[in-house]
């Protein structure tokens, strides 16, 4: 029945959806022919009625009730007698749902209305999305329909969390809320998507009896098609559009591509501001130069008026005179304010304007922003205008060579489009290539409630990249080039409850086509309204995919490498190897930011090439070069690097070596938002700045680990990492930047484990030595060196072995008994060899002991694991301070083993 309901509507809905808002969505429920309570008329052409009821009588009459249809009580009572016709157990006909009709009046099916998206124009609150209780409950917010034939397979999915990926630059949403249709045959495949991002799940925050009716809405549609041109060669095209709409407008107004102004935004402008400031304020000089300015007003009749000619001049605040120009350096800003409310020239008032353009003759390192009284922070009282960037100068020009006239054609946002092409060649004679070319178009319109056809403005920005690889053993060549404009944008605004947009709130008011999901867990890291999100992310540090940080597996407030016993197997993240190719001090695979997950950062263009030689199955050498430049500034990242990797293993030994060295000139800041797990407190996300320690430096990073065994019972492991950043600048320059000449991390870990079976018992002895030296790049942060020696003894004694069932516990490879008593002792000694560290104050020695009784037993199909025990510990510092800790625990876990 579900299948019928969905099939009856989806093709029409999809076709119609591409014309949003020019058509009416879905199929109406209560407004359908016959209404929800009509019954199927069997084979009759028209709905049946009781002919006997047609009588020339004056009194009120009622159609006899058909009990089998419904047992709903009526307000009147008929005499009933079941002496002849036996009374039966009648159930509600609504248990099977209601009867629904399509637009043509045909009955669709008896069943439930799962999902209905309607858009009726022209009247208020014409856009509504209904998600029935069954959709959210029985179907868990996901329905799937399929169709196929003639080599074509199609599948329709409607859900709240559909993983949807087109291309990295166009559409990547791990939790797309809407409708998706996929189709494929042998050489062509494609996807179409439809959604209303504004309040798609209102039913979750209000009573499900209320549909999410909206007058102003944001609709999204798009698709991706891929054509297999030849074996291993594919071409793709993507189009995604999110546009504003307004159901008060007529059916033909607006455009599904350019959108329409929302009700609250389509008001006459009272004031308009344009701000110029220094695009590189950090240098404090040579900012924006403004030579001249004027406003051009175009009324609804097409008459063009220049502000200077009619004496309509702005008030100018800020900046300072420099020759015949006005300059804004450093933190200064020039603000031009036009009070349109006072406009009354040649009979033209603000109500008569169809277009407003501000012309600015500017040069050097300018950053132009604009706003109006309709572009605010969304507050109902004392709304503050919010400036949004219009244009930024490329580079950090100081000689006037980029002098130009910028026309700020003002408008409020109405739509965002992304149009892209992608291609790939896979292993064609060792050559592979893939790339993408995308333009983002942002539509804006000048508001005026008195006219139907608004002046439209479109801004375009380009993003592209290409990656090529040539492999012919033992050689490998790789190159990647990219350019992502600063203004490249794949997001749209969402309106608030009252149809207003909070332009200053990127958290609550943005809908991104490309989500920020650096840890690939399917949950975006930024908070968006009515979309699942989680700020917490630790990319690369959940390699076992258990949704717990690898270094805090027991999910408490203490990192595992600081916890007794656990620290034997857990090492600090500083010991983990990896490449840091943006030179911000964090290994790239562990980086988390708050930006859309484009493959490269915006406002940058560059190239990265390397050649690799395989000198054997386990050894490779790589030499490469990267050149990255900021587009709107003069920042750059230049690096020449070398990478060596050796992975050698025998049955009893494994040795791995990684060496990364680079000559770096990097002054592009790459700030991050990283997971910090401090000792003794809750882990949290924290903004981590880029110290720009690679401005002119040598980078060296080595990693080695060695694992070997003595028989089956004794294992050794050694691990070391050395990361060094050496500044090449002069002493004075390094001092002024508050950097250390040499900074980085050095650490070495030795670990040994010896497990001795003693009858049914097991004695485990362990030893771990950790030496580490931290020297942060910033002189403001302390540096220090520590050495810690740890010894562990664990005794495991099975109890009730003869009466309990046994099971194999694969981790240890030997019998694990149902009930065990475990005793553990850990002894530790730490020396703070020099300096100071954030987590170490003084030398100390500590001991910790644990007694634990554990039991495993079956219960209701689950395996219960019950543990009870006591842990006691003491840490004694050399300055006579001491800390005592003790913990009693009793835990029960149920698993599906």
């Amino acid at each position: 029945m579900l299948r019928l309901v969905v099939r009856g509507a989806w093709i029409g809905a999809l076709v119609a959806g591409l014309c949003v808002p020019a058509t009416t969505w879905g199929q109406p429920g209560e407004t359908g022919l016959g209404g929800g309570r009509a019954q199927l008329a069997g084979s009759a052409i028209t709905p049946g009625f009781e002919l006997d009821a047609v009588r020339p009588e004056m009194h009120k009459w009622y159609v006899p009730r058909h009990l089998p249809v419904t047992f709903d009580p009526t307000w009147y009572r008929n005499q009933s007698n079941y002496a002849v016709d036996a009374y039966r157990y009648y159930v509600s006909a609504e248990l099977e749902g209601l009867v629904w009709y399509d637009q043509l009046g045909h009955p669709v099916e008896r069943g439930w209305l799962l999902y209905e998206w309607q858009q009726e124009q022209e009247h208020p609150k014409g856009s509504s999305i209904w998600k029935g209780d069954e959709y959210n409950g029985l179907f868990r917010s996901l329905v799937v329909a399929d169709e196929g034939g003639g080599g074509l397979e199609m599948r329709l999915m409607l859900g709240d969390q559909l993983e949807t990926v087109f291309t990295p630059l166009t559409f990547v949403k791990p939790r797309f809320n809407g409708l998706r249709l996929d189709g494929a045959n042998d050489y062509l495949q494609g996807s179409l998507i439809l959604a209303r991002p504004s309040m798609p799940n209102r039913d979750q925050i209000q009573s499900s009896a209320l549909p999410s009716d909206r007058t102003d809405f944001v609709n999204l549609f798009g698709g991706h098609a891929e054509w297999t041109v030849a074996p291993r060669v594919a071409m793709g095209a993507t189009y995604v559009n999110a546009h504003f709409g307004n159901t008060k407008e007529t059916f033909g107004s607006g455009s599904p591509f350019g959108g329409a102004l929302m009700t609250i935004q389509n008001q006459n402008l009272d004031a308009m501001w344009v701000r110029l400031r220094d695009d590189s304020p950090e240098d404090g000089v040579h900012g924006a130069l403004l030579f001249d300015y004027d406003i051009v007003l175009v009324d609804t009749a097409g008459t063009e008026l220049r502000g200077r000619e009619i004496g309509f001049l702005p008030t100018v605040e800020g900046g300072s005179a420099r020759g015949s120009a006005l300059a804004a350096d450093g933190s200064e800003a020039i603000v031009l304010a036009w009070n349109l409310e006072d406009l009354d020239a040649d009979g033209v008032e603000t109500e008569d304007l169809r277009r407003v353009r501000v012309e600015l003759s500017v040069a050097n390192d300018y950053h132009i922003e604009a706003t109006s009284n309709m572009q605010t922070d969304g507050e109902m009282r004392r709304a503050a205008p919010v400036f949004l960037t219009v244009k930024r100068a490329a580079g950090n020009v100081q000689d006037n060579s980029n002098a130009t006239v910028i026309a700020v054609d003002y408008g409020l946002p109405t739509a965002t489009e992304v149009i892209g092409l992608d291609w790939s060649v896979t292993d064609w004679h060792g050559f592979s290539f893939q790339g993408e070319l995308v333009t983002s178009r942002r539509h804006r319109q000048y508001p005026n409630p008195g006219i139907d056809s608004h002046h439209r403005v479109v801004e375009r920005d380009l993003a592209t990249y290409g990656q090529a690889r040539y492999e012919r053993h033992p050689w490998e060549l790789y190159a990647e080039v990219f350019s992502i404009a600063d203004g490249y944008d794949t997001g749209t605004w969402l309106m608030g409850s009252f149809g207003n947009i909070h332009y200053d709130d990127f958290t609550e008011s943005r809908y991104e086509f490309v989500e920020d999901d650096d840890d690939f867990n399917g949950v975006p890291e930024w908070d968006r309204p009515l979309h699942g999100s989680n700020d917490v992310a630790w990319p690369g540090l959940d390699e076992n995919a258990d949704f717990l940080h690898d270094h805090n597996q027991n999910d408490n407030l203490i990192p595992d490498y600081e916890e007794p016993f656990l620290r034997f197997r857990s090492d600090r993240p500083e010991f983990l190897p990896g490449m840091d190719m943006n030179y911000n001090g964090t290994v790239d695979r562990f980086e988390n930011d708050n930006l859309p997950d484009y493959p490269y950062r915006t406002d940058q263009r560059g190239v990265n090439t390397y050649g690799r030689a395989f000198l054997g199955p386990d050894l490779s050498l790589t030499v490469g070069r990267q050149r990255i430049a900021q587009i709107s500034g003069d920042g750059r990242t230049d690096a020449d690097y070398f990478l060596a990797r050796w992975d050698f293993s025998t049955p009893s030994l494994r040795l791995r070596l990684l060496e990364h060295a680079a000559w770096v000139r990097d002054d592009i800041a790459d700030p991050l938002r990283m997971w910090i797990q401090p000792f003794g407190s809750a882990g949290r996300m924290r903004d981590v700045g880029d110290p720009l320690s690679g401005d002119d430096a040598w980078l060296h990073s080595s990693y080695v680990d060695l694992e070997h065994r003595l028989g089956d019972a004794v294992r050794f492991e050694h691990r070391g990492r050395w990361q060094l950043m050496r500044q090449r600048d002069g002493d004075q320059a390094v001092l002024e930047r508050e950097l250390r000449r040499d900074s980085g991390f050095r650490g070495w870990i030795d670990r040994a484990e010896w497990r001795v079976p003693v009858g049914l018992s097991v004695l485990e002895t362990r030893w771990k030595s950790e030496w580490r030296e931290h020297r942060p790049p910033s002189r403001r942060l302390p540096s220090g060196t520590t050495l810690e020696q740890m010894a562990f003894i664990i005794w495991t004694q099975p109890l009730l072995a003869e009466s309990a069932s046994v099971a194999y516990f694969p981790r240890y490879g030997r019998q694990v008994f149902s009930t065990e008593l475990q005793l553990g002792l850990e002894l530790s000694r730490l020396w703070l060899l020099d300096g100071q560290l954030e987590d170490v104050e003084d030398d100390y020695r500590s001991w910790t002991t644990v007694a634990q009784l554990s039991n495993r037993s079956a219960y209701l199909g689950y395996q219960l694991v019950t543990r009870v025990g006591l842990q006691i510990g003491r840490k004694r510092f050399d300055d006579a301070r001491s800390q005592r800790v003790s913990a009693f625990f009793l835990t029960v876990h149920a698993g599906l083993r």
Partner: protein, 837 residues
């Protein structure tokens, strides 16, 4: 006349200033007007200038300097500067209470900084022999020092109590004092006592001092009339009030001395009469109480005024934690990192040299927090550049925590209350956040009130008196205009601004005053370039009826500062009442090509205007101005070619540096007529400004001509023309006047003349010009750096190479290039030259 004005007039009469009542009224506006001068010189003038709260100090003689933020201060010395309004009462720092009403005058001597004055309690009633000092704000005090007057006695026994301002509960709320020190053994000699104040509450290591707002000194013991025994002669030499007791003694047979009354003593036999002892009366005199504190709390200095003015009603937390008072405080909201909000942001109003942030509370402190500092600089995104300190955990729940750092200029302090210990319900109260440092405020901007002239006036020069030693700077900027926008602010009875609609709905008795704010209208100029030297000509448009002046005192070293004490604007009547001009065309100007422009000048004279003899026309372009015609007439006469031709004719035209000068014929009637100047010139920059000046040769005065509607023939209303340079190469095709030349010294074609034309470039930009032979070897470098790169540059090549050898005949390559920041295309060219003999 209103009552305040009457009082002011009376005051003026007393001070002898009544002779100039007008100027007295203007004093409150921040300047004094004279017929040909505007003067800013007195302390009241400078105090009327706008600056960040607590950022400047104006001394009594009218010298303004940035405030010096002190370390290790005596908090008593400036207690009187702090005024607190609470519970309907206004208190001023100083003596806040005393035990004996008779001490109402003398008690203040312990806080006047003068060791020669003192407070002497009444020793007859020890219970009321105490004095209480209110420091006006909560300071972090290290120690308290008591100095007793040399001319009296130290207190025999006393104690010192301190309170941070918190009070007891209950109906009668009293300050909770703690004992800071006590002298319980009789003290006769020591006249200076120092009591160290160690933190009494849990604080981390390294935190010194104790929050103190009130200090109380109690006299506990006295010798009263028997301070010191003196001999009889000395006794009677003492002033009457210093004479103490006289004790009489009877001597027993065993030698005991028993005090007796004088009457009894006199009746004793000589053998029984013992000694008579004379005493000096004790004069316990406390000269000074000093509270040695960490320093000036910059946050309290800069935020308190706002708090008192009621602007902080919408943010009680910020008001309470920045008011300098420990007794007020609230729970700080937890920082929301997702939305980057709910942090406590404090704008100090200027850059201060800071080195320490301290946070105080009386209970349930912040258990985790983070401090960020910014000097107000912006980054490319328009956000402040922050110095972010590590997140700090206060697991021990210390009531005072501190963040110290190397001295740095700071304008913004941000506190983020974190919740790293998951104890949101138990913590987070903050009583005070304090900032300490040392040095002069690094950047103070003083902005004058709107200076209103007596009608439209020409400002001839800007002069000032001040000092700017090395490491500091003093900059003056000006702007001028004619119109003001008046913005009414509707206030309620509490002085809080409300909407006009709400104000009108209020009953009359609840309506507050309407405060009208005047701001410059759109006709005002922008701020001028800084005046580097005193006495410079006014840089803003003139004549105007109003002006604004800004003085910026900057220091780049904490212990050096610039000062300003006097500023004057020279005034003169305008040469003509009105002079406006406009030029056409203003758009689509082809760069580099000679283009004819027409400039219209309209003048209106009033009787008595001094007038002028010459008009100077200048251009910001480097190309010369070639005059093609000058006419005068009405709009219609100009339109129908009926205007009087002045040039060629009676007008004299001469060249000026960067322009031309027109000397008007005598007797030319200008009023109400329009002068039309036709000239041709080339433009090389994106915008070129033409400037007209009217010059009176009699006194050398110059009046700038304004842009405006000079004629109905055109509607540009401006003197700026904009070139369409976009898309054009910055380097025009290189021209060579004689590509084939013979450098043989015969005077004919001995040199090659190279003409290079550059557009839109500004600044020092080297022009690469080199001669290469056909093999590509450079033989002559003719590169140079022109002062203004845009324009036409002529270079001569005499046929010699860099070694001053004549090159051999042949074909040579000329390479011209210029580097640009934008990496623009079309910035290089290659031409050939032929040398023949």
């Amino acid at each position: 006349m209103t009552l305040p004005v009457c009082l002011l007039a009376v005051l003026c009469a007393v001070t002898g200033a009544l002779a100039q009542p007008q100027s007295v009224i203007l004093e409150a506006r921040g300047y004094r007007s004279e017929p040909d001068l505007v003067v800013v010189e007195t302390a009241s003038h400078w105090r009327a200038w706008e600056a960040g709260d607590g950022t400047r100090i104006v001394d009594s003689v009218g010298t303004v300097r940035p405030r010096f933020i002190r370390a290790d201060i005596d908090a008593v010395a400036n207690a009187g500067e702090f005024v607190n309004v609470a519970d309907g009462d206004t208190t001023i720092g100083g003596i806040s209470a005393y035990g004996n009403r008779a001490d109402s005058l003398t008690a203040a001597f312990v806080a006047d900084g003068d060791l020669s004055t003192w407070w002497e309690p009444d020793t007859e009633n020890l219970g009321s022999a105490w004095v209480e000092i209110d420091l006006g704000r909560t300071v972090v005090a290290r120690r308290i020092r008591l100095r007793f007057a040399d001319s009296g006695d130290p207190f025999l026994m006393f104690r010192v109590l301190v309170a941070d301002g918190t009070e007891s509960f209950g109906r009668k709320r009293t300050l909770l004092f703690q004992r800071a020190g006590q002298v319980a053994a009789p003290n006769k000699d020591q006249r200076e006592f120092v009591f160290d104040l160690a933190p009494r509450r849990p604080v981390p290591d390294g935190i010194e001092g104790e929050p103190v707002q009130f200090v109380r000194v109690d006299l506990l013991g006295t010798d009263g009339p028997r301070a010191e025994e003196v001999d009889r002669l000395a006794y009677f030499r003492l002033p009457e009030q210093d004479r103490g007791a006289i004790d009489y003694f009877r001597v027993t047979v065993i030698g005991r001395e028993i005090p007796v009354l004088r009457e009894s003593y006199l009746q004793l036999s000589l053998e029984q009469q013992g000694p008579v002892r004379y005493y000096r009366k004790e004069r316990p005199r406390l000269a000074e109480v000093e509270v040695e504190a960490l320093g000036d709390n910059i946050i309290a200095l800069t935020q308190r005024v706002k708090a008192e003015s009621g602007d902080f009603f919408d943010d009680l937390v910020r008001r309470f934690v920045t008011d300098g008072l420990m007794r007020t405080g609230l729970t700080v909201r937890e920082y929301d990192p997702f939305r980057d909000r709910d942090q406590l942001l404090i704008d100090l109003g200027a850059r201060f040299w800071l080195e320490r942030i301290r946070m105080l509370t009386d209970r349930t402190p912040l258990t985790s927090y983070q401090i960020r500092l910014s000097d107000g600089s912006l980054n490319a995104d328009g956000d402040f550049e922050w110095t972010t300190f590590d997140e700090k955990i206060n697991a021990e729940r210390y009531l005072e925590v501190e963040e110290t750092f190397s001295p740095q200029p700071v304008r913004l302090v941000e506190l983020r209350r974190l919740n790293l210990l998951n104890d949101a319900r138990l913590a987070g109260k903050l009583s005070e956040i304090q900032a300490y440092g040392r040095g002069y405020v690094s950047d103070v901007i003083l902005t004058s009130p709107i200076i209103k002239f007596d009608g439209r006036q020409m400002v001839t020069a800007v002069s000032w008196e001040g000092e700017a030693p090395a490491g500091t700077s003093l900059e003056i900027r000006t702007r001028s205009g004619d119109r003001l926008i008046q913005i009414p602010h509707y206030l309620n009875m509490a002085g809080r601004e409300i909407s006009e609609a709400l104000w009108e709905r209020l009953p009359d008795e609840q309506q507050g005053p309407i405060r009208v704010e005047e701001v410059p209208d759109s006709d005002w100029s922008t701020w001028s370039e800084p005046y580097r030297e005193t006495g410079r000509a006014f840089q803003s448009p003139s004549p105007r009826s109003m002006a604004l002046v800004q003085a910026r005192l900057r220091t780049f070293q904490p212990l050096r500062t610039a000062t300003i004490s006097r500023l004057t604007l020279g005034l003169a009547p305008p040469l003509v009442d009105l002079a406006v001009a406009e030029v056409t065309p203003t758009r689509s100007i082809d760069p580099g090509l000679a283009r004819e422009f027409t400039l219209y000048l309209r003048l209106e004279r009033q009787p008595g205007d001094p007038g002028f003899q010459r008009i100077a026309l200048r251009s910001s372009a480097s190309a010369p101005i070639d005059v093609t015609g000058v006419r005068i007439g009405s709009d219609d006469e100009l339109r129908f070619d009926q205007a009087e031709v002045l040039w060629p004719g009676s007008l004299e035209v001469s060249r000026l540096d960067g322009g031309v000068s027109f000397e008007l014929p005598d007797g030319l009637d200008l009023s109400g007529r329009i002068l039309e100047f036709r000239f041709s010139t080339s433009v090389f920059l994106p915008s070129t400004t033409f400037a007209l000046e009217l010059i009176n040769d009699d006194d050398g005065r110059t009046q700038q001509v304004d842009t405006g509607d000079a004629t109905s023939l055109v509607a540009s209303n401006q003197l700026v023309v904009v070139s369409e340079l976009e898309g054009l190469p910055l380097l025009a095709p290189v021209e060579i006047d004689s590509p084939v030349f013979t450098p043989n010294g015969d005077g004919v074609r001995d040199e090659a003349e190279i003409l290079i034309t550059l557009f839109q470039l500004q600044g020092q930009r080297p022009l690469q010009v080199a001669i290469h032979d056909v093999s590509g070897r450079r033989i002559r470098d003719l590169s140079f750096t022109p002062p203004a790169p845009s324009g036409q540059h002529r270079i001569l090549w005499d046929g010699y190479d860099d070694d001053r050898r004549l090159v051999v005949p042949g074909i040579y390559l000329l390479r011209v290039s210029v580097d640009t920041d934008a990496g623009a295309s079309g910035t290089s060219a290659v031409r050939t030259l032929s040398v023949v003999y």
